[in-house]
Protein backbone atom coordinates (compact mmCIF):
# COMPACT_ATOMS: atom_id res chain seq x y z
CA UNK A 1 0.00 0.00 0.00
CA UNK A 2 2.88 2.42 0.64
CA UNK A 3 3.91 1.83 -2.95
CA UNK A 4 0.99 3.82 -4.26
CA UNK A 5 0.96 6.49 -1.58
CA UNK A 6 2.24 9.49 -3.44
CA UNK A 7 2.27 8.28 -6.96
CA UNK A 8 0.77 10.38 -9.72
CA UNK A 9 -2.80 9.67 -10.55
CA UNK A 10 -2.34 8.22 -13.98
CA UNK A 11 -2.89 4.48 -13.74
CA UNK A 12 -1.28 3.76 -17.08
CA UNK A 13 2.21 4.49 -15.76
CA UNK A 14 1.77 2.49 -12.61
CA UNK A 15 3.02 -1.07 -12.50
CA UNK A 16 2.08 -2.03 -8.95
CA UNK A 17 -1.25 -0.69 -7.73
CA UNK A 18 -3.53 -1.73 -4.88
CA UNK A 19 -5.26 -4.37 -6.95
CA UNK A 20 -1.94 -6.04 -7.72
CA UNK A 21 -0.91 -5.86 -4.05
CA UNK A 22 -4.27 -7.32 -3.12
CA UNK A 23 -3.89 -10.17 -5.60
CA UNK A 24 -0.41 -10.94 -4.22
CA UNK A 25 -1.72 -10.91 -0.64
CA UNK A 26 -4.56 -13.28 -1.54
CA UNK A 27 -2.27 -15.69 -3.38
CA UNK A 28 0.13 -15.71 -0.40
CA UNK A 29 -2.78 -16.39 1.94
CA UNK A 30 -3.92 -19.40 -0.04
CA UNK A 31 -0.37 -20.75 -0.18
CA UNK A 32 0.26 -20.14 3.53
CA UNK A 33 -3.11 -21.44 4.65
CA UNK A 34 -1.61 -24.47 6.45
CA UNK A 35 1.01 -22.60 8.53
CA UNK A 36 -1.56 -19.89 9.20
CA UNK A 37 -4.00 -22.25 10.87
CA UNK A 38 -1.02 -23.68 12.79
CA UNK A 39 -0.37 -20.24 14.30
CA UNK A 40 -3.89 -19.96 15.67
CA UNK A 41 -4.15 -23.47 17.09
CA UNK A 42 -3.30 -22.62 20.72
CA UNK A 43 -6.28 -22.19 23.09
CA UNK A 44 -5.47 -18.55 23.86
CA UNK A 45 -4.91 -17.60 20.23
CA UNK A 46 -8.04 -19.49 19.19
CA UNK A 47 -10.11 -17.67 21.79
CA UNK A 48 -8.65 -14.38 20.60
CA UNK A 49 -9.63 -15.17 17.02
CA UNK A 50 -13.14 -16.26 18.04
CA UNK A 51 -13.76 -13.09 20.05
CA UNK A 52 -12.27 -10.91 17.30
CA UNK A 53 -14.45 -12.47 14.61
CA UNK A 54 -17.50 -12.37 16.92
CA UNK A 55 -17.21 -8.66 17.65
CA UNK A 56 -16.96 -7.99 13.93
CA UNK A 57 -19.79 -10.29 12.88
CA UNK A 58 -21.95 -8.78 15.61
CA UNK A 59 -21.14 -5.18 14.75
CA UNK A 60 -21.11 -5.31 10.96
CA UNK A 61 -24.89 -5.31 10.41
CA UNK A 62 -25.23 -2.26 12.66
CA UNK A 63 -22.31 -0.57 10.93
CA UNK A 64 -23.73 -1.25 7.48
CA UNK A 65 -27.24 -0.09 8.37
CA UNK A 66 -25.78 3.01 10.01
CA UNK A 67 -23.74 3.69 6.89
CA UNK A 68 -26.82 3.26 4.67
CA UNK A 69 -28.77 5.70 6.83
CA UNK A 70 -25.85 8.10 6.78
CA UNK A 71 -25.63 7.86 2.97
CA UNK A 72 -29.36 8.53 2.69
CA UNK A 73 -28.92 11.60 4.88
CA UNK A 74 -25.93 12.74 2.85
CA UNK A 75 -27.49 12.25 -0.58
CA UNK A 76 -31.25 12.42 -0.34
CA UNK A 77 -32.13 14.63 2.66
CA UNK A 78 -31.67 18.32 1.87
CA UNK A 79 -29.79 20.45 4.39
CA UNK A 80 -32.85 22.63 4.86
CA UNK A 81 -34.64 19.69 6.51
CA UNK A 82 -32.33 19.84 9.52
CA UNK A 83 -32.76 23.57 9.85
CA UNK A 84 -36.49 23.00 10.17
CA UNK A 85 -36.34 19.81 12.26
CA UNK A 86 -33.99 21.01 14.97
CA UNK A 87 -34.37 24.14 17.10
CA UNK A 88 -32.25 26.90 15.63
CA UNK A 89 -30.63 27.75 18.95
CA UNK A 90 -27.79 25.24 19.41
CA UNK A 91 -28.36 25.14 23.18
CA UNK A 92 -31.88 23.79 22.51
CA UNK A 93 -30.84 21.62 19.57
CA UNK A 94 -28.62 19.56 21.89
CA UNK A 95 -31.40 18.15 24.12
CA UNK A 96 -33.66 17.78 21.07
CA UNK A 97 -31.04 15.68 19.28
CA UNK A 98 -30.44 13.63 22.45
CA UNK A 99 -34.14 12.80 22.65
CA UNK A 100 -34.16 11.90 18.95
CA UNK A 101 -31.41 9.43 19.81
CA UNK A 102 -33.59 7.86 22.50
CA UNK A 103 -36.30 6.77 20.06
CA UNK A 104 -33.93 5.53 17.35
CA UNK A 105 -32.81 1.99 18.13
CA UNK A 106 -29.22 1.75 17.09
CA UNK A 107 -25.91 0.33 18.03
CA UNK A 108 -22.89 2.51 18.70
CA UNK A 109 -21.21 1.26 15.51
CA UNK A 110 -24.03 2.72 13.41
CA UNK A 111 -24.38 6.05 15.14
CA UNK A 112 -20.78 7.16 14.50
CA UNK A 113 -21.14 7.43 10.71
CA UNK A 114 -24.66 8.86 11.10
CA UNK A 115 -23.36 11.64 13.37
CA UNK A 116 -20.59 12.37 10.87
CA UNK A 117 -23.17 12.63 8.13
CA UNK A 118 -25.34 15.00 10.21
CA UNK A 119 -22.37 17.34 10.68
CA UNK A 120 -21.68 17.29 6.94
CA UNK A 121 -25.29 18.33 6.34
CA UNK A 122 -24.90 21.38 8.54
CA UNK A 123 -26.29 20.12 11.84
CA UNK A 124 -24.46 21.88 14.65
CA UNK A 125 -21.69 19.51 15.85
CA UNK A 126 -22.86 19.81 19.47
CA UNK A 127 -26.29 18.37 18.56
CA UNK A 128 -24.83 15.65 16.33
CA UNK A 129 -22.45 14.60 19.14
CA UNK A 130 -25.28 14.53 21.67
CA UNK A 131 -27.16 12.27 19.26
CA UNK A 132 -24.04 10.11 18.86
CA UNK A 133 -23.89 9.55 22.62
CA UNK A 134 -27.61 9.17 23.30
CA UNK A 135 -28.68 6.87 20.45
CA UNK A 136 -26.83 3.69 21.51
CA UNK A 137 -27.12 4.32 25.25
CA UNK A 138 -30.82 4.78 25.87
CA UNK A 139 -32.96 3.42 23.06
CA UNK A 140 -35.94 1.11 23.74
CA UNK A 141 -34.01 -2.08 22.92
CA UNK A 142 -31.20 -1.26 25.32
CA UNK A 143 -33.58 -0.26 28.13
CA UNK A 144 -35.62 -3.44 27.64
CA UNK A 145 -32.46 -5.54 27.75
CA UNK A 146 -31.50 -3.77 30.98
CA UNK A 147 -34.90 -4.53 32.52
CA UNK A 148 -34.57 -8.20 31.53
CA UNK A 149 -31.02 -8.46 32.86
CA UNK A 150 -31.88 -6.86 36.23
CA UNK A 151 -35.27 -8.38 37.10
CA UNK A 152 -34.86 -7.58 40.78
CA UNK A 153 -33.76 -3.96 40.28
CA UNK A 154 -36.18 -2.08 38.01
CA UNK A 155 -34.69 1.19 39.26
CA UNK A 156 -31.58 0.25 37.23
CA UNK A 157 -33.47 1.06 34.01
CA UNK A 158 -34.46 4.54 35.19
CA UNK A 159 -30.96 5.20 36.56
CA UNK A 160 -29.36 4.16 33.25
CA UNK A 161 -31.73 6.36 31.21
CA UNK A 162 -31.29 9.42 33.46
CA UNK A 163 -27.51 9.19 33.77
CA UNK A 164 -26.92 8.50 30.05
CA UNK A 165 -29.25 11.27 28.89
CA UNK A 166 -27.54 13.69 31.27
CA UNK A 167 -24.11 12.80 29.88
CA UNK A 168 -25.27 13.21 26.27
CA UNK A 169 -26.85 16.62 26.90
CA UNK A 170 -23.97 17.86 29.08
CA UNK A 171 -21.37 16.76 26.52
CA UNK A 172 -23.32 18.62 23.82
CA UNK A 173 -23.37 21.81 25.89
CA UNK A 174 -19.73 21.35 26.84
CA UNK A 175 -18.89 21.17 23.13
CA UNK A 176 -20.82 24.42 22.56
CA UNK A 177 -18.70 26.18 25.19
CA UNK A 178 -15.29 24.63 24.66
CA UNK A 179 -15.39 22.77 21.35
CA UNK A 180 -13.47 24.04 18.35
CA UNK A 181 -14.67 23.35 14.83
CA UNK A 182 -11.17 22.58 13.57
CA UNK A 183 -10.84 19.60 15.94
CA UNK A 184 -13.30 17.75 13.73
CA UNK A 185 -11.72 16.65 10.47
CA UNK A 186 -14.24 14.67 8.47
CA UNK A 187 -12.39 12.55 5.91
CA UNK A 188 -12.52 13.70 2.34
CA UNK A 189 -15.39 11.97 0.56
CA UNK A 190 -14.66 12.47 -3.10
CA UNK A 191 -17.06 13.62 -5.79
CA UNK A 192 -20.33 13.47 -3.90
CA UNK A 193 -21.35 16.74 -5.48
CA UNK A 194 -20.85 16.33 -9.16
CA UNK A 195 -21.95 12.72 -9.42
CA UNK A 196 -25.46 11.41 -10.02
CA UNK A 197 -27.49 10.59 -6.90
CA UNK A 198 -27.01 6.85 -7.40
CA UNK A 199 -23.27 7.13 -7.83
CA UNK A 200 -22.99 9.51 -4.88
CA UNK A 201 -25.00 7.12 -2.69
CA UNK A 202 -22.95 4.00 -3.45
CA UNK A 203 -19.72 5.97 -3.33
CA UNK A 204 -20.62 7.17 0.18
CA UNK A 205 -21.57 3.64 1.27
CA UNK A 206 -18.37 2.17 -0.15
CA UNK A 207 -16.16 4.83 1.39
CA UNK A 208 -17.76 4.69 4.85
CA UNK A 209 -17.84 0.91 5.10
CA UNK A 210 -14.19 0.64 4.12
CA UNK A 211 -13.15 3.50 6.37
CA UNK A 212 -15.23 2.95 9.51
CA UNK A 213 -15.00 -0.82 8.98
CA UNK A 214 -11.21 -0.67 8.99
CA UNK A 215 -11.28 1.14 12.32
CA UNK A 216 -13.85 -1.30 13.62
CA UNK A 217 -11.31 -4.07 12.90
CA UNK A 218 -8.75 -2.20 15.03
CA UNK A 219 -11.24 -1.88 17.87
CA UNK A 220 -12.32 -5.51 17.67
CA UNK A 221 -8.70 -6.65 17.78
CA UNK A 222 -8.08 -4.52 20.87
CA UNK A 223 -11.21 -5.82 22.59
CA UNK A 224 -10.30 -9.44 21.82
CA UNK A 225 -6.82 -8.88 23.25
CA UNK A 226 -8.23 -7.53 26.51
CA UNK A 227 -10.78 -10.34 26.68
CA UNK A 228 -8.00 -12.93 26.51
CA UNK A 229 -5.37 -11.13 28.60
CA UNK A 230 -7.33 -9.87 31.61
CA UNK A 231 -8.34 -12.77 33.83
CA UNK A 232 -11.54 -12.12 35.70
CA UNK A 233 -9.88 -13.11 38.98
CA UNK A 234 -7.92 -9.83 38.94
CA UNK A 235 -11.12 -7.83 38.98
CA UNK A 236 -12.56 -9.63 41.96
CA UNK A 237 -10.00 -8.17 44.34
CA UNK A 238 -11.15 -4.68 43.35
CA UNK A 239 -14.83 -5.32 43.98
CA UNK A 240 -14.60 -4.88 47.75
CA UNK A 241 -13.52 -1.23 47.63
CA UNK A 242 -16.41 1.10 46.60
CA UNK A 243 -14.30 3.73 44.82
CA UNK A 244 -11.99 1.23 43.18
CA UNK A 245 -14.90 -0.91 42.02
CA UNK A 246 -16.48 2.06 40.21
CA UNK A 247 -13.22 2.87 38.47
CA UNK A 248 -12.48 -0.79 37.69
CA UNK A 249 -15.83 -1.33 35.98
CA UNK A 250 -15.60 2.01 34.16
CA UNK A 251 -12.23 0.99 32.72
CA UNK A 252 -13.50 -2.51 32.02
CA UNK A 253 -16.43 -1.09 30.04
CA UNK A 254 -13.96 0.78 27.83
CA UNK A 255 -11.70 -2.23 27.36
CA UNK A 256 -14.29 -4.94 26.74
CA UNK A 257 -16.17 -2.92 24.09
CA UNK A 258 -19.36 -4.93 24.37
CA UNK A 259 -22.33 -3.98 22.21
CA UNK A 260 -24.74 -1.75 24.14
CA UNK A 261 -27.57 -4.22 23.59
CA UNK A 262 -25.68 -6.93 25.48
CA UNK A 263 -23.74 -5.06 28.15
CA UNK A 264 -26.58 -5.23 30.68
CA UNK A 265 -26.29 -9.03 30.79
CA UNK A 266 -22.57 -8.82 31.44
CA UNK A 267 -23.13 -6.18 34.12
CA UNK A 268 -25.75 -8.39 35.76
CA UNK A 269 -23.28 -11.25 35.95
CA UNK A 270 -20.64 -9.12 37.73
CA UNK A 271 -22.62 -9.66 40.90
CA UNK A 272 -19.84 -9.01 43.42
CA UNK A 273 -19.74 -5.39 42.33
CA UNK A 274 -22.06 -2.74 43.76
CA UNK A 275 -25.10 -1.66 41.73
CA UNK A 276 -23.58 1.82 41.40
CA UNK A 277 -20.37 0.52 39.86
CA UNK A 278 -22.40 -1.65 37.48
CA UNK A 279 -24.48 1.40 36.53
CA UNK A 280 -21.24 3.24 35.69
CA UNK A 281 -20.29 0.24 33.53
CA UNK A 282 -23.59 0.64 31.63
CA UNK A 283 -23.26 4.41 31.23
CA UNK A 284 -19.62 4.41 30.10
CA UNK A 285 -19.72 1.39 27.76
CA UNK A 286 -22.02 2.63 24.98
CA UNK A 287 -20.30 6.05 24.95
CA UNK A 288 -16.60 5.27 25.25
CA UNK A 289 -14.96 1.99 24.32
CA UNK A 290 -12.03 0.79 22.26
CA UNK A 291 -13.95 0.22 19.07
CA UNK A 292 -15.81 3.54 19.43
CA UNK A 293 -12.56 5.43 20.01
CA UNK A 294 -11.10 3.77 16.93
CA UNK A 295 -14.16 4.58 14.82
CA UNK A 296 -14.39 8.17 16.10
CA UNK A 297 -10.75 8.62 15.19
CA UNK A 298 -11.61 7.35 11.72
CA UNK A 299 -14.71 9.45 11.18
CA UNK A 300 -13.85 12.69 13.02
CA UNK A 301 -10.05 12.66 13.20
CA UNK A 302 -7.49 12.13 15.95
CA UNK A 303 -7.61 15.67 17.36
CA UNK A 304 -11.29 15.16 18.07
CA UNK A 305 -11.19 11.65 19.50
CA UNK A 306 -8.27 12.39 21.84
CA UNK A 307 -10.33 15.12 23.53
CA UNK A 308 -13.87 13.83 23.21
CA UNK A 309 -13.32 10.30 24.54
CA UNK A 310 -11.56 11.25 27.84
CA UNK A 311 -14.05 14.06 28.51
CA UNK A 312 -17.00 11.73 27.91
CA UNK A 313 -15.40 9.07 30.10
CA UNK A 314 -14.92 11.45 33.02
CA UNK A 315 -18.42 12.88 32.74
CA UNK A 316 -19.97 9.41 32.42
CA UNK A 317 -18.19 8.17 35.56
CA UNK A 318 -19.30 11.22 37.55
CA UNK A 319 -22.90 11.14 36.25
CA UNK A 320 -23.17 7.38 36.75
CA UNK A 321 -21.83 7.55 40.31
CA UNK A 322 -24.06 10.46 41.34
CA UNK A 323 -27.16 8.86 39.82
CA UNK A 324 -26.28 5.59 41.52
CA UNK A 325 -25.92 7.27 44.91
CA UNK A 326 -29.33 8.93 44.54
CA UNK A 327 -31.42 6.26 42.81
CA UNK A 328 -29.93 2.87 43.67
Amino acid sequence: MTLVKDRPADPRHRVIGSVEVLAAVLILLVILRGPLSGVVSGARMQTWTTVFVSVLVQAVPFLVFGVLLSAVIAVFVPSSFWARALPSRPALAVPAASLAGVVLPGCECGSVPVAGSLIRRGVTPAAALAFLLAAPAINPIVLTATAVAFPGNPEMVAARAVASLAVAVLMGWLWLRLGRADWIRLPHRPDLDRASKGEAFWSAVRHDVVHAGGFLVLGAAAAATINVLVPEAWLQTLAANPALSVLALAVLAVLLSICSEADAFVAASLSQFSLTSRLVFLVVGPMVDLKLIAMQTGVFGRAFASRFAPATFALAVVAGTLTGLVLL
Binding site: S37, V40, V53, R194, H211, L218, E232, Q236, S269, G298
Partner: protein, 237 residues
Protein backbone atom coordinates in the same frame (compact mmCIF):
# COMPACT_ATOMS: atom_id res chain seq x y z
CA UNK B 1 -6.09 1.71 -1.74
CA UNK B 2 -7.88 2.50 -4.99
CA UNK B 3 -11.54 1.89 -5.67
CA UNK B 4 -11.09 -1.36 -7.54
CA UNK B 5 -9.16 -2.80 -4.61
CA UNK B 6 -11.84 -1.53 -2.21
CA UNK B 7 -14.47 -3.22 -4.34
CA UNK B 8 -12.57 -6.53 -4.22
CA UNK B 9 -12.12 -6.26 -0.43
CA UNK B 10 -15.84 -5.47 0.00
CA UNK B 11 -16.75 -8.38 -2.26
CA UNK B 12 -14.59 -10.73 -0.17
CA UNK B 13 -15.92 -9.32 3.09
CA UNK B 14 -19.54 -9.52 1.94
CA UNK B 15 -18.94 -13.01 0.60
CA UNK B 16 -17.44 -14.10 3.92
CA UNK B 17 -20.44 -12.69 5.83
CA UNK B 18 -22.82 -14.43 3.40
CA UNK B 19 -20.98 -17.72 3.73
CA UNK B 20 -21.08 -17.52 7.53
CA UNK B 21 -24.79 -16.71 7.60
CA UNK B 22 -25.83 -19.26 4.97
CA UNK B 23 -24.05 -22.03 6.89
CA UNK B 24 -24.03 -22.76 10.62
CA UNK B 25 -20.70 -20.93 10.91
CA UNK B 26 -22.34 -17.78 12.33
CA UNK B 27 -23.65 -19.77 15.31
CA UNK B 28 -20.09 -19.92 16.66
CA UNK B 29 -19.98 -16.14 16.93
CA UNK B 30 -23.45 -14.64 17.36
CA UNK B 31 -27.01 -15.50 18.37
CA UNK B 32 -29.20 -17.20 15.80
CA UNK B 33 -31.56 -14.20 15.69
CA UNK B 34 -28.94 -12.07 13.96
CA UNK B 35 -28.97 -14.32 10.88
CA UNK B 36 -31.46 -12.36 8.71
CA UNK B 37 -29.55 -9.16 9.40
CA UNK B 38 -26.28 -10.86 8.49
CA UNK B 39 -27.75 -12.11 5.20
CA UNK B 40 -28.96 -8.61 4.39
CA UNK B 41 -25.58 -7.14 5.39
CA UNK B 42 -23.66 -9.58 3.19
CA UNK B 43 -25.94 -8.80 0.27
CA UNK B 44 -25.51 -5.02 0.75
CA UNK B 45 -21.72 -5.38 0.91
CA UNK B 46 -21.67 -7.41 -2.31
CA UNK B 47 -24.02 -4.90 -3.97
CA UNK B 48 -21.76 -2.03 -2.89
CA UNK B 49 -18.78 -3.82 -4.44
CA UNK B 50 -20.64 -4.46 -7.70
CA UNK B 51 -21.90 -0.86 -7.95
CA UNK B 52 -18.37 0.41 -7.26
CA UNK B 53 -16.96 -1.71 -10.08
CA UNK B 54 -19.81 -0.71 -12.38
CA UNK B 55 -19.24 3.01 -11.82
CA UNK B 56 -15.49 2.49 -12.21
CA UNK B 57 -15.61 0.61 -15.48
CA UNK B 58 -18.61 2.01 -17.32
CA UNK B 59 -17.77 4.28 -20.24
CA UNK B 60 -17.35 7.88 -19.16
CA UNK B 61 -19.53 10.53 -20.72
CA UNK B 62 -16.64 12.98 -20.84
CA UNK B 63 -13.10 11.75 -21.08
CA UNK B 64 -11.69 14.59 -18.98
CA UNK B 65 -13.87 13.84 -15.98
CA UNK B 66 -12.93 10.20 -16.21
CA UNK B 67 -9.22 10.78 -16.15
CA UNK B 68 -8.57 13.32 -13.49
CA UNK B 69 -10.74 12.20 -10.63
CA UNK B 70 -9.35 8.74 -10.65
CA UNK B 71 -7.61 6.39 -8.33
CA UNK B 72 -4.98 8.16 -6.24
CA UNK B 73 -7.09 10.26 -3.89
CA UNK B 74 -6.46 9.79 -0.19
CA UNK B 75 -8.67 6.78 -0.09
CA UNK B 76 -8.82 4.99 3.26
CA UNK B 77 -5.72 2.89 3.80
CA UNK B 78 -7.17 1.49 7.00
CA UNK B 79 -9.53 -0.47 4.76
CA UNK B 80 -6.81 -3.05 4.22
CA UNK B 81 -7.58 -4.26 7.73
CA UNK B 82 -10.91 -5.58 6.47
CA UNK B 83 -8.91 -8.48 5.04
CA UNK B 84 -8.38 -9.72 8.62
CA UNK B 85 -12.01 -10.73 9.26
CA UNK B 86 -12.10 -12.21 5.74
CA UNK B 87 -9.12 -14.38 6.68
CA UNK B 88 -10.77 -15.13 10.01
CA UNK B 89 -14.04 -16.26 8.46
CA UNK B 90 -12.89 -17.92 5.24
CA UNK B 91 -9.50 -19.43 6.10
CA UNK B 92 -9.34 -19.89 9.87
CA UNK B 93 -13.01 -20.11 10.96
CA UNK B 94 -12.16 -20.31 14.69
CA UNK B 95 -14.27 -22.67 16.82
CA UNK B 96 -16.93 -21.61 19.31
CA UNK B 97 -15.67 -20.56 22.76
CA UNK B 98 -14.94 -23.50 25.00
CA UNK B 99 -12.74 -24.80 27.78
CA UNK B 100 -10.26 -21.90 27.78
CA UNK B 101 -13.03 -19.39 28.49
CA UNK B 102 -14.59 -21.74 31.05
CA UNK B 103 -11.29 -21.86 32.96
CA UNK B 104 -10.64 -18.15 32.81
CA UNK B 105 -14.05 -16.80 33.76
CA UNK B 106 -16.20 -17.37 36.79
CA UNK B 107 -19.48 -19.25 36.45
CA UNK B 108 -22.61 -17.27 35.74
CA UNK B 109 -24.49 -16.76 38.96
CA UNK B 110 -27.70 -18.80 38.83
CA UNK B 111 -30.80 -16.71 38.21
CA UNK B 112 -33.24 -16.35 41.08
CA UNK B 113 -36.86 -16.73 40.03
CA UNK B 114 -39.95 -16.46 42.16
CA UNK B 115 -41.48 -19.64 40.87
CA UNK B 116 -39.94 -22.74 39.32
CA UNK B 117 -42.48 -24.65 37.27
CA UNK B 118 -42.39 -28.44 37.15
CA UNK B 119 -39.96 -30.11 34.75
CA UNK B 120 -41.40 -31.22 31.40
CA UNK B 121 -42.32 -34.87 30.79
CA UNK B 122 -39.63 -37.42 29.96
CA UNK B 123 -37.13 -39.70 31.60
CA UNK B 124 -34.43 -38.59 31.59
CA UNK B 125 -35.63 -35.05 30.96
CA UNK B 126 -33.27 -32.72 29.05
CA UNK B 127 -32.53 -29.55 31.06
CA UNK B 128 -30.33 -26.57 30.22
CA UNK B 129 -27.32 -26.01 32.46
CA UNK B 130 -28.44 -22.55 33.56
CA UNK B 131 -31.94 -23.83 34.34
CA UNK B 132 -30.50 -26.74 36.30
CA UNK B 133 -28.13 -24.51 38.28
CA UNK B 134 -30.92 -22.03 39.11
CA UNK B 135 -33.30 -24.76 40.26
CA UNK B 136 -30.52 -26.42 42.22
CA UNK B 137 -29.26 -23.33 44.03
CA UNK B 138 -32.31 -21.12 44.52
CA UNK B 139 -34.93 -23.84 44.76
CA UNK B 140 -32.67 -26.29 46.64
CA UNK B 141 -33.52 -28.82 43.95
CA UNK B 142 -37.20 -29.04 45.00
CA UNK B 143 -38.55 -28.50 41.49
CA UNK B 144 -36.09 -31.12 40.22
CA UNK B 145 -37.98 -33.56 42.43
CA UNK B 146 -35.59 -36.50 42.28
CA UNK B 147 -36.16 -36.84 38.54
CA UNK B 148 -33.44 -38.06 36.19
CA UNK B 149 -32.13 -35.15 34.14
CA UNK B 150 -29.96 -35.07 31.03
CA UNK B 151 -27.41 -32.24 30.76
CA UNK B 152 -25.31 -31.46 27.70
CA UNK B 153 -22.04 -29.53 27.76
CA UNK B 154 -18.30 -29.82 27.43
CA UNK B 155 -16.00 -31.13 30.11
CA UNK B 156 -13.74 -28.89 32.13
CA UNK B 157 -11.87 -29.27 35.38
CA UNK B 158 -13.49 -28.19 38.62
CA UNK B 159 -11.89 -26.32 41.54
CA UNK B 160 -11.23 -29.62 43.36
CA UNK B 161 -9.73 -31.22 40.27
CA UNK B 162 -12.90 -33.21 39.67
CA UNK B 163 -14.84 -33.21 36.38
CA UNK B 164 -17.19 -30.35 35.66
CA UNK B 165 -19.72 -29.76 32.94
CA UNK B 166 -19.71 -26.32 31.33
CA UNK B 167 -21.39 -24.41 28.57
CA UNK B 168 -20.91 -20.84 27.36
CA UNK B 169 -23.91 -18.54 27.71
CA UNK B 170 -24.04 -15.80 25.09
CA UNK B 171 -26.44 -12.86 25.16
CA UNK B 172 -25.34 -11.03 22.01
CA UNK B 173 -22.04 -12.24 20.58
CA UNK B 174 -19.20 -14.43 21.82
CA UNK B 175 -17.42 -11.37 23.23
CA UNK B 176 -19.93 -11.37 26.09
CA UNK B 177 -19.88 -15.16 26.44
CA UNK B 178 -19.58 -16.44 30.00
CA UNK B 179 -19.52 -20.00 31.26
CA UNK B 180 -22.12 -21.75 33.36
CA UNK B 181 -20.60 -24.64 35.30
CA UNK B 182 -22.10 -27.71 36.96
CA UNK B 183 -19.96 -30.04 39.04
CA UNK B 184 -20.19 -33.81 38.47
CA UNK B 185 -20.00 -36.26 41.36
CA UNK B 186 -20.21 -40.02 41.79
CA UNK B 187 -21.00 -42.41 38.98
CA UNK B 188 -18.68 -43.96 36.45
CA UNK B 189 -15.25 -42.39 35.93
CA UNK B 190 -15.28 -39.74 33.23
CA UNK B 191 -12.07 -40.20 31.29
CA UNK B 192 -12.21 -37.83 28.33
CA UNK B 193 -10.09 -34.71 27.95
CA UNK B 194 -11.33 -31.19 28.78
CA UNK B 195 -13.27 -29.67 25.92
CA UNK B 196 -14.93 -32.96 24.87
CA UNK B 197 -18.71 -32.65 24.59
CA UNK B 198 -20.65 -35.11 26.75
CA UNK B 199 -24.23 -35.98 27.60
CA UNK B 200 -24.68 -36.71 31.30
CA UNK B 201 -27.70 -38.34 32.92
CA UNK B 202 -28.08 -38.05 36.67
CA UNK B 203 -29.97 -36.70 39.67
CA UNK B 204 -29.79 -33.57 41.73
CA UNK B 205 -27.05 -33.50 44.34
CA UNK B 206 -27.08 -31.26 47.40
CA UNK B 207 -23.32 -30.75 47.09
CA UNK B 208 -22.12 -27.17 46.44
CA UNK B 209 -18.81 -25.54 45.66
CA UNK B 210 -17.51 -22.01 45.17
CA UNK B 211 -16.06 -20.97 41.84
CA UNK B 212 -12.47 -19.94 42.60
CA UNK B 213 -12.63 -17.15 40.02
CA UNK B 214 -15.67 -15.23 41.23
CA UNK B 215 -16.87 -17.07 44.38
CA UNK B 216 -20.25 -17.83 42.81
CA UNK B 217 -22.05 -21.01 43.84
CA UNK B 218 -21.59 -24.09 41.66
CA UNK B 219 -24.27 -26.77 41.80
CA UNK B 220 -23.60 -30.49 41.42
CA UNK B 221 -25.13 -33.44 39.60
CA UNK B 222 -24.94 -37.03 40.86
CA UNK B 223 -23.96 -38.89 37.67
CA UNK B 224 -25.68 -42.16 36.69
CA UNK B 225 -24.29 -42.50 33.20
CA UNK B 226 -22.50 -40.40 30.61
CA UNK B 227 -21.41 -40.63 27.01
CA UNK B 228 -19.22 -38.52 24.72
CA UNK B 229 -21.10 -36.82 21.88
CA UNK B 230 -20.28 -34.59 18.95
CA UNK B 231 -20.53 -30.86 19.58
CA UNK B 232 -24.13 -29.72 18.96
CA UNK B 233 -25.01 -27.32 16.16
CA UNK B 234 -25.81 -24.56 18.66
CA UNK B 235 -22.97 -24.74 21.17
CA UNK B 236 -24.00 -21.73 23.24
CA UNK B 237 -26.84 -21.69 25.70
Amino acid sequence: MNRQAQAVVLLLFGGAVLKASLTDLHLRYVKEGLRPFLLLTGAILVLTALFTLWYEYRPRRTAAAGDDHDHAHHEPRVGWLLLLPVIGLLLVAPPALGAFTADQSGTLPAAAESDYGPLPEGDPVPVGLLDYASRSIYDDGRSLGGRRVKLTGFLSTGPDGGPMLARIVVSCCAADGRPIKVGLSGGPVIDVPAGQWVEVVGRHSAQRAKDPVNQADISYLEVDEWQPIRAPKQQYE
